[in-house]
Symmetry: D3
């Protein structure tokens, strides 16, 4: 029997990399065995705040976070911003710098530490392209934010 991967960040990134339902299912099964919650989505925008909103909306809709509890939204928000630092590399800005991003994102909530006292953590992974607002004039970018929740 395969050991399920408990690296919550790697799982989230692999989930954004997956292009096929088969691969999605394989990753989802692993996370389900661990009792973790997860979701994935897509967003493309020159407006940074729309990317934040898209990730928050999916997390709320799929019940990965409880949208009535600020501490959960706070944990998610900081994970998103940290993930987007990897995508934007130095300036948390897109259109204001005349660049746009087309991203897939994954949110995973789980228990990556063996010690039960470490409780739940949330990982936000973002993968896609960033570049000029010209088709194909872009390169890949990635980001990962991890927070206790």
């Amino acid at each position: 029997m395969n050991q399920v991967d408990t690296k919550i960040g790697r799982q989230a990134v692999m989930y954004t990399f997956s292009n096929s339902e088969a691969e999605d299912s394989r990753i989802e099964n692993g996370m389900q065995q661990l009792g973790w919650q997860f979701g994935k989505g897509k967003v493309g925008s020159m407006e940074f705040q729309k990317i934040v909103a898209a990730i928050e909306t999916l997390a709320k809709r799929q019940g990965i976070v409880n949208q009535d509890i600020y501490r959960e939204m706070h944990a998610l928000y900081h994970a998103i911003i940290e993930a987007m630092q990897g995508v934007t590399r130095g300036q948390v800005e897109l259109g204001g710098m005349l660049r746009t991003a087309g991203l897939r994102f994954a949110i995973v909530r789980g228990t990556p530490y063996e010690n039960a006292a470490e409780g739940e953590w949330i990982a936000v992974a973002v993968y896609g392209t960033i570049g000029a607002p010209v088709r194909g004039f872009e390169h890949e970018a990635i980001g990962l934010g991890i927070n206790h929740i």
Copy 2:
């Protein structure tokens, strides 16, 4: 026949994720079919500059970049710094902020665009953990830097 993945950034990240020789070989075969150059290594340090140095040294030793040509080293350097932005998320600093990183890194040099005029690009991926200088008090982090070379 499988299509080889020409996403240079994803390839570099997958290479840092790989834990087994079998997986390493699978990724390496794909990159070799594309005629790309690549290498992977490990580094752990509280000193940011040691991480930069470790990546540069591997790239030079394995001939992924020509160490006698500044334009190649310049392309690599900026790719490394961009990758480390994803790991450090806002401040390009480790020990000075009382944190340490244990990282695997991969360097891939190839031709990710169909148009031959786009020439060669370099991807630097970094994956591992960042946290307090206390065993286990750390979480995952990732970064990817991509540059024309």
Copy 3:
């Protein structure tokens, strides 16, 4: 007789903390004894520039700075930006990161150093909440900027 507090930054922060006219008067009396100039106001916005404008407007209207002299406006501007760094913690941005701020601010112009040659300085303090554009989904934030004028 009480010693009047000559810590211009602390005075400015205390002034933003004050909720009552009694407390306001106590602080104002201290600053008046020192011959200092001061003002306080409120601003809530997702637009960073509106917060800067609100602070500048109050400072000009109350004559704390001379709006016809650029060097005074320059000193004030940098003090405001430095104060807002404490509120925004890493990215001088609000709505673009899908967050909003509700702030009280105070401006104090005075002579905090014993040596008369040190002349006048300006302190801008900002205190309030920052968070999601959802009522109550916010936490406190503070900032202080100090400049020679």
Copy 4:
């Protein structure tokens, strides 16, 4: 009867402002009535990491955080870094920029939200001076970091 102040950030800042045992006691009594945990300390250094270490050490020693649980140390660490953003205003660096800081800090752990589901939060306040490594060539600085714990 006075309402106890449940603004955890303001309490932490006031605690760093306090110069007298009487004032300390007044603030501590308020926090004790709320069942909150707290501590205060002093640190002066050109080395940023020493300031982080001093705050972490006090928090651990006084049992404000459980040093065996990474999620608690993670919450504290990010609160410290956010607080120090207000002090350093743009660059999380001291000696490397030829400046030094002399700071008082306070850590408060409590329940600032009415909704019990919001649970515990931690506030780190830092107040003091920053400037050249020359006596008196410094001005005040402040910072506040708040995190769910």
Copy 5:
């Protein structure tokens, strides 16, 4: 015979400094002798992206870069952003911080290194004023970005 200045960055900056056709011609002659390509323009805006766009547009129109090749646009883009870091000093933002810039810019593409293997590099220089949206309430600012192309 005068030695032509092969410092590509200094040439670009001098070109932005030049106020007269005579001075322009002198600088242009030097660059032409070196076989370099160049252009200069003007832009004033509170919108950072308009400044990026103005520089990109001139570079494309004058054929300094090949607008059909992403690697050329990528090299130019990063040079522009690096140049604007010198103008904005810490935050890549203008109007969002309630400030505006009036700039002259120069783009030079050439071979600043003796070793032919170092190939072509691009320099973007930006010089002008930055300040409040009030006439005369501004001071000078400069920036230089250099990249291999």
Copy 6:
């Protein structure tokens, strides 16, 4: 008769560009006619703080600033840091990022505004190379910081 250039920033940059005594004299004469104070120096280091110190030391030794007055040192310090932002482009760090700088700098104190009420301002210009700690593996960099004094 030539009009003397009252652009304090441009003067400071030109002064760092100058390679000859003749050019130095021409620039110095212009500044002397304006009654301005100035100085120039050189510094090469991987340690950011050594560059700050070298500029401060020259300014003090040549009496451009009064080293006994903090407000003057404060004005100079912020001008230096702003200038170095242009050199370091995003991270105020050198050796910690495995890079080194070889710089010429100029400090000019004068009255660049027609309105006498605008008083004195200070410009710090820095020009040279930044790159790997390998001879010739470097490119040009520039920075300018301007402050009221």
